[in-house]
Each structure stands twice: as structure tokens, then as C-alpha cells.
């Protein structure tokens, strides 16, 4: 069905969406044992008695996982509870070594948060409630197609710490769901708690969606939709499932509560073959882990010391750096870029110039390369220095671009490159006049036409001198000389 057709459906029918997002926390070791969480190790090498669930092994909680989970929950506006309880979620699956997952049930780490995902036409905020944030451990990986007739299990991932973020069913369209996910991801990136990459599996989304006639207050029966690999996949899956549900309801049918799987290749949802209703998890408090007691003072301090949230950063960029909305969006999309930009601005002073260079040259170079600012050779203070050289007239803007390219390749400081490659701006009248004379001699027609009033040829003549001078000529002085030489 096409977008306009969905819009038509949505005139009479309302889509209600809640999202459960699982996020891997960026700790060095697992949630309940000291095994490394590093990605890409050979199968079953980051394992120990605890995460292998050997007889007699016991869990011990990773302090940093608690810190990151708390930070995330606070950033989402939740109340973090001083007392929370781990619970066992019991079910059988070969990549779940203990036959239960240590999670939280009755008394989760945090509840009652809220995320602003956008604004309505009238300027009022669109908020999505966060019901709860709780801690749990990841399962291992099952690979089904590697060996005939067998499933291959790798437990490296078993025990990696996760938080589960459950939203209220507050979203009313696929777009709102997408917006929620993008805002959530950005907040968690800013808080440096996770890589939050759906592609890499550090962020996973399960959606709950139901349909009801507009005006109806009771919620319809929801289905669970799983197996999406991207935010756009989530949006499309939601629309397809909504369409399917409306189809059933319009015929007078009933929605069965079941799990649907998104088939991205086919662009459809289909029912999961797993039987619903056989999942009785028999939750009970984890006897191997006493209740987690957090000092209120520590919770308050963590809140106070939260890294700057995206919304706050955007507001600050507007007031401190006098940047427009577009520039702000580009510069704050990634907190690492935003940090970089601020360092440059602080060292150089001109926020607009810094913005142009970061959004232009820096981002272009990153896109051309591996995109990793951490390994980018141009450090903020170096870029600031280059901008200073331009501002002080030591190098021309054109030369600066060349110098920048050299900086990216070598990591050398700009002044050094300028000297070495003879890119220091020339504003010596004698030299400038010599070049000008050469150009006039080489381009007599253009020179004559300029002298006769065709001002637009200025660029051509100046450009020729710039080329001759390998970008070193000082354009301002050059213009003055040109006016004297060929002006009237």
C-alpha cells in the first residue's frame, strides 16, 4: 500500500504503538562475570564458568553496568529507584545457558520517564512516556545455517549487559515511532552508554502495535512485531502490520495476540511459527543476587553530572554560537562531532567560520574516509590554528584548503605545512605586481576588456594570478593593485 493510501486508512483508524528497545551497555566486562565483551572474538572464547552456566557457578554484578544503566535511565527522565530487584526469567533455549535470563521484573531499576520526539504545528511537544528501564543480560548467538541439520551456538555474547527500555503506547504513527527511536539513540549516544547500532546489534527493537477506530478509547488487541534491522525497517513493518490489522477488523474479524516477524526482503510481516501462550516465564526474585541498594546521594550526583543532553546542547549552540537550525542539527547530530566543533570554536573564536569548516571540509573528509573522528588526523587545535592563519591573512582561503588536505594526510601542523610547501600568502607588492604584469601580458584581451569596464572579468584575472601564485597571492591586495593598474 502506498503512503497516501495509509493516510486514507488513518483517517478512520488509529495506530497505537509501543516500543521495547534493548540496548547493549558499553562495559569492558559482562554483566555477571569478568569475561570480556569485546566483539569479534572466535566463538566461545570469551566464556567462563559463570556465563557457561557450569554447575556451581554464581553471578556477580558489574558496577559499571549499574552506572551506565542509571545514567541512561536518568537521561530519559526516569525516576531511578534506590531499591531494585533482579529476577529470573525462565525458559529453555540453547543460547540461554542457565535456562533462565537474569533480568528485572517487579521492581525494576527505573520507571516513569519521558522523551520529547518532536513538536506539533502549534509548537506543543510530542512526548512519549518511558514506562520502565531495567537491567538484564544478553543471550548468546544461535547460527542456524552454518552446519547442516544443526544449530551452532556461540556464548561470547551471553551475559553482556543490556538495558530494556519500554515505552508507553504513546506513538500514533510509524513516523512517530521512527522519531522516538532516533531521539532515543541520540540521547544514549550523548550519554556514552552504548554504541546503539541496530546494524551491529547493540540496539534491538521489538514493536507492539494495535489498531482502533478513531474516537475509540479502548486499546485494540496488540501484536508483537520483531526482526527489524533498521529504523526505516521498523517504520515499514509497523505500517504493514497496521494495514493487516485494519484489514482484519474491517472485515469484522478479531486480532489474535501473536508475534509477527518482519521480512525485510519481501517487505511483509508474517506470523512467527513459535506457539504463543507457551511462554510462562515463572519470574521469581533471583536468590543469588540480594536486592540492589543505591544511595540516593549517588543517584542525585549521577543526575547532576549527566553529560549534556542533545536538547540542551542544541539550545546552547543557538545562544552561545549564534548558529541557525540547520547548522545546529548537522553539528549536534553526533556528540563526538559536536565536541570537536566546540573545541575548534573555543580555540579559534569565530563560531561561524568554525561551523563552515567542520560542516564542510571535516565532514566531507570523514565521509570519504572511514568516518571515525577518533582516528582523524586533524585535531581541533590544529584546525583552529589553520583558521587563525586565514583570519590573520597569513594564508589565503584557497591555500588553506590545500593545507587542510595535507593535514588530513599527514597530521602535520598547518604553519609547518604552509612554510614547507610555500603556501604562505604573498602580499609583497613587488611580487604581486610582477604576477599581475605576467597575467596582463598573457591575457591582453581580457585585460583590455576589464580596463574598458567589464568588471565581471575581475574574477578571471584574479583567478589567473592566484593560479600562477599557487594560491599564495593575497586576494585583497591583489584586487587593489588590479584596480590601480587597470582601473580608471
Amino acid at each position: 500500500m502506498t503512503a497516501p493510501a495509509i493516510d486514507a486508512l488513518m483517517r478512520d483508524w488509529e495506530m497505537v504503538v509501543g516500543l521495547e528497545v534493548h540496548v547493549q551497555l558499553k562495559t569492558r566486562t559482562k554483566a555477571f562475570c569478568a569475561c570480556s565483551t569485546e566483539y569479534g572474538a572466535p566463538p566461545n572464547t570469551n566464556v567462563c564458568p559463570v556465563c557457561l552456566a557450569l554447575p556451581g557457578a554464581l553471578p556477580t554484578l558489574n558496577a559499571h553496568a549499574v552506572e551506565l544503566a542509571t545514567r541512561a535511565a536518568l537521561a530519559l527522565g526516569c525516576t531511578v529507584h534506590a531499591n531494585s530487584v533482579f529476577a529470573r526469567k525462565n525458559y529453555f533455549y540453547p543460547d540461554l545457558p542457565k535456562g533462565y535470563q537474569i533480568s528485572q521484573f517487579d521492581q525494576p531499576l527505573a520507571t516513569d520517564g519521558r522523551v520529547e520526539i518532536g513538536r506539533r504545528e502549534d509548537g506543543s511537544p510530542i512526548n512519549v512516556g518511558v514506562t520502565r528501564v531495567h537491567m538484564e543480560e544478553d543471550a548468546g548467538k544461535s547460527v542456524h545455517d552454518r552446519y547442516a541439520g544443526a544449530t551452532a551456538i556461540d556464548l561470547n555474547r551471553a551475559g553482556v549487559p543490556l538495558i530494556e527500555i519500554v515505552s508507553e503506547p504513546d506513538m500514533r504513527s510509524a513516523r512517530e515511532a521512527g522519531a522516538y527511536l532516533r531521539v532515543l539513540k541520540q540521547i544514549l549516544e550523548y550519554m556514552a552508554v552504548s554504541d546503539v547500532s541496530m546494524e551491529e546489534g547493540s540496539l534491538r527493537v521489538d514493536a507492539n502495535v494495535s489498531a482502533r477506530r478513531r474516537g475509540q478509547t479502548r486499546l485494540g488487541t496488540k501484536t508483537e512485531v520483531k526482526n527489524m534491522n533498521s529504523f526505516s525497517g521498523v517504520e515499514r513493518a509497523l505500517e504493514m502490520e497496521f494495514i493487516r490489522q485494519v484489514g482484519v477488523l474491517e472485515q469484522g474479524g478479531r486480532i489474535d495476540q501473536q508475534t509477527m516477524l518482519w521480512d525485510g526482503a519481501a517487505g511483509q510481516v508474517r506470523p512467527s511459527r513459535t506457539k504463543e501462550g507457551s511462554h510462562d516465564y515463572r519470574y521469581f526474585p533471583e536468590p543469588d543476587l540480594p536486592p540492589l541498594l543505591l544511595e540516593q546521594g549517588w543517584i542525585d550526583r549521577t543526575l547532576h553530572e549527566l553529560p549534556e543532553l542533545p536538547a540542551a546542547r542544541r539550545a546552547r549552540f543557538a545562544s552561545e554560537y549564534a548558529l541557525g537550525d540547520y547548522d545546529i542539527d548537522v553539528l549536534t547530530a553526533d556528540p563526538v562531532i559536536a565536541d570537536y566543533y566546540e573545541s575548534v570554536t573555543r580555540a579559534h573564536g569565530d563560531s561561524k567560520a568554525a561551523a563552515n569548516w567542520v560542516m564542510g571540509e571535516v565532514l566531507a573528509q570523514l565521509r570519504a574516509g572511514d568516518g571515525d573522528l577518533a582516528t582523524f588526523r586533524v585535531r581541533p587545535h590544529d584546525l583552529a590554528e589553520l583558521l587563525n592563519l586565514v583570519r590573520d591573512g597569513v594564508v589565503s582561503h584557497t591555500a588553506a584548503k590545500q593545507i587542510f588536505a595535507r593535514m588530513v594526510a599527514t597530521g602535520d601542523p598547518p604553519a609547518q605545512i604552509a612554510e614547507r610547501e610555500g603556501l604562505v600568502k604573498v602580499d609583497d607588492d613587488a611580487q604581486l605586481s610582477r604576477w599581475l604584469d605576467e597575467v596582463v601580458a598573457e591575457m591582453p584581451t581580457e585585460a583590455e576588456r576589464f580596463r574598458n569596464g567589464e568588471r565581471k572579468l575581475q574574477g578571471v584575472l584574479i583567478g589567473a594570478v592566484m593560479k600562477k601564485s599557487k594560491g599564495r597571492a593575497d586576494p585583497r591586495r591583489l584586487n587593489q593593485l588590479l584596480a590601480e593598474r587597470l582601473g580608471r
Partner: protein, 102 residues
């Protein structure tokens, strides 16, 4: 709350215990007898009583986010029933769409 054969089959499935029909039938009896003794608890007034949450009132100790993990003195293939190229093998799941095999 009497236990029926249906309950026994359901519980056995949850616990992945393969029961013969004979065993399932006798378990109906056994479970009912044992659980009958537990009925004494329903008569106890527990209003306002917290369920036990561990003897140690000190709360949950946490550990620093670093290794090394506890080493294994023998490698996985020394004790795992089926290992290949480092993976642990199990019979292929009949429905492998989601976790929780049916």
C-alpha cells in the same frame, strides 16, 4: 486446586521433562498428595508480611568492570558433548525465528 493430567503435561513441557504416560499418571497422584500438605499455608495470616529477600541485609555487592575472568582448567571441547570450529552444536531448531524454541 487439584492437579490434573493436563496440568502435569503442561508443567512437564515447561520443564522439558519427557514423561511416559505411566509416569505422568502417577505424578498426578504424587503432586496432589504433596500439595495437599501445603494447603496449611493458605490459613496463615500474612497481611503486611514481606516475602523473604535474603538473609544478608547488606544489599548487593558490585565488582569493578575489569578482568581477568575465572579461567577454565580444561577447554570447552574437553567437556562439551558436541563442538565444531569452536561452536557448540545442537540439533537444528524446528522453528528458529525467535528465541524460546517451542
Amino acid at each position: 486446586m487439584a492437579v490434573t493430567i493436563h496440568d502435569v503435561r503442561h508443567v512437564a513441557a515447561l520443564a522439558r521433562l519427557g514423561l511416559t504416560d505411566e509416569r505422568a499418571a502417577s505424578l498426578v497422584q504424587e503432586m496432589n498428595t504433596i500439595l495437599a500438605h501445603m494447603d496449611a499455608l493458605s490459613a496463615v495470616d500474612t497481611t503486611g508480611v514481606d516475602a523473604v529477600a535474603g538473609v544478608g541485609a547488606g544489599g548487593l555487592p558490585v565488582r569493578a568492570d575489569k578482568g581477568p575472568p575465572l579461567p577454565l582448567t580444561r577447554s570447552l571441547d574437553a567437556f562439551a558433548p558436541s563442538v565444531r570450529d569452536g561452536f557448540i552444536l545442537v540439533p537444528r531448531l524446528s522453528t528458529h525465528d525467535t528465541a524460546e524454541e517451542s
